[in-house]
Symmetry: C2
Subunit: 334 residues, 2 copies
């Protein structure tokens, strides 16, 4: 067999193998934890629309930006945001260096184990605790604290590691979108530096695709080199109106798909659907008290009220977690 | 020939073709506009070191972050920052709506064509002009203004489009790094929204990999949908100490290679080399008065003074543009 023939054979074999792979991909359900129904269908239809070359709905891969809220959208957020548990653990660890915390609220309540009273001061109290525990060290020291915590801490109710309280159907959705040329981003009210140390491993989302709330950083030249010091000062709150602003700053493109679960995500979804061409706006509705948590209009954590009204009025996709998901969390790792 | 044989043939042919492609790639000079010498060699050696699997210097592709200043590093910046010319053009366009500018400095000088007097007020005057011309519209309206300007405006000395005053050797360097698994970022004191509309086309750098100075944005719900309005308020100045801070915020990883040309880039280079493992810090030294511009320690635009001292003391790569570059700008497009 001469070279010309070999190359012809090679070409036909490669084509044959490619077609088989394509057919296999199309026949496999990329979202096995999703029950058949309107929600799943709207996702699959949207992806089919934007990936079909030569049609009106086609979107170039570079513009396939999908943004995801984190708390309550990619992982659970009850009985309170997981980052708050990190804050409480930090307060307990730092207490010996802060004797004044024994009597000073909200710290005193945390040290007594009374988290409800600690949070009675609302966002102001939480922010005060975040500043006291997230600042006064370099960004790399903080990163290493988060890494240790996320590997060792356990959720107070489930006793699972927090990273195993991510939603299996959402992990499948992230992979499915990326397999279809999407770039997946987190756009969360949570701390940007609290998420980045583990999002790549857990979600396949690298640090540069994680957007969140942040404190100010200060460049400081020390004897053995430069460091970035975390200051006890808010830089940006990535929630509500802040989300589209942060998307504009970090990504510089409007998403074509956005995923959230609370009123804090409403502006991100509004901003996403206001662009031209096919759009997907999706809300998770926490309806499963048995397998997860059931909450919406009255919840202080992850309230979904105005957002639910808008979703119903505008025909956005609403995932009923009880009905639409076969499983909630991934199988426990050994 | 049965299937098993065919697949064996296929495998060996694919391997053969891959090796030929690899050999071809290795024999081709990826930096043809760079003269042989220390500067070029330090780049090629660095890339060889970090891309060789199984060696101490190997860096995983995800960590191959390279950051580039823009003004004076990727394109020219004399007789003043190109964005300033955009500002002057905007002032002339907007003048009919601002009769007060006829007598109010620095606007009056711009309208008389006396740019030197307009800039006599230093950074404060420039900032005042930026705010007056970059705010009060949506981010998408601004994007469209920049797109039109960059396609039509001409440099006052060369009469070339500004995007043809980019440095050919740096375009080759960007491509070379990307071909070796690097993610290339711009980290510039220039406006983030002024660069993003054209960096992908000109440098192959997508908007989400462009970091710069920014004004504040405000989410606003209007009758026909949400918009982001540009406010006349500074959000972030991405210069000097700001550069490592912006890198931490946007990328969340420390670069392993950084490229600049002025004291404004010094902290970015210091931050880059302070990480562990192989590092490349490179300064362009503008030494070519004939083909480009010659300036360093005394220049008001792009001053390179402290940075040059540090580069020489620490053995960073310094590119002598006159000696090290065969060409400065790309061949003029037809």
């Amino acid at each position: 067999m001469n070279m010309k023939h070999r190359i012809q054979k090679l070409t036909s074999l490669v084509l044959m193998l490619s077609f088989s792979a394509l057919a296999a991909a199309q026949n496999t359900d990329a979202l096995p934890s999703w029950n058949e129904g309107k929600a799943k269908q709207s996702i699959v239809d949207f992806v089919a629309t934007v990936t079909k070359p030569g049609t009106a709905g086609f979107v170039a891969p570079a513009e396939r930006i999908a943004t995801f809220d984190n708390d309550g959208t990619l992982w659970a957020e009850q009985p309170m945001y997981f980052q708050a548990f990190f804050v409480f653990d930090r307060i307990k660890t730092l207490a010996p260096q802060h004797p004044e915390w024994q009597t000073q609220e909200p710290f005193a309540s945390v040290l007594k184990g009374d988290l409800k009273s600690a949070l009675a001061g609302g966002e102001r109290a939480l922010l005060q605790m975040v500043m006291a525990t997230h600042a006064g060290m370099t960004n790399e020291e903080f990163e290493s604290l988060v890494k240790t915590w996320i590997e060792t801490a356990r959720h107070p109710i489930s006793q699972r590691p927090y990273t195993e309280m991510v939603y299996q159907p959402m992990l499948e959705l992230l992979s499915y979108l990326r397999a279809n040329g999407f770039k997946t981003y987190i756009v969360s009210g949570g701390g940007i530096e609290f998420m980045r140390p583990w999002t790549e491993k857990v979600y396949g989302i690298p640090p540069e695709q994680v957007i969140g709330s942040s404190g100010k950083l200060k460049f400081e030249m020390r004897t053995n080199g430069p460091v970035l010091v975390k200051l006890p000062e808010v830089d940006f709150i990535d929630d509500k109106e802040g989300k589209p602003v942060a998307i504009a700053k970090h990504i510089g493109r409007r998403p074509i798909a956005a995923f959230g679960n609370s009123d804090g995500d409403l502006q991100m979804l509004q901003w996403t659907v206001a662009g031209s061409g096919p759009r997907l706006a999706l809300y998770l509705h926490h309806t499963d008290a048995e397998r997860e948590f059931a909450y919406d209009r009255k919840s202080s954590i992850g309230r979904l009220d105005q957002g639910l009204d808008q979703a119903l009025a505008k025909g956005w996709t609403v995932v009923d977690m009880k009905q639409d998901w076969k499983t909630i969390y991934p199988a426990t790792k050994k």
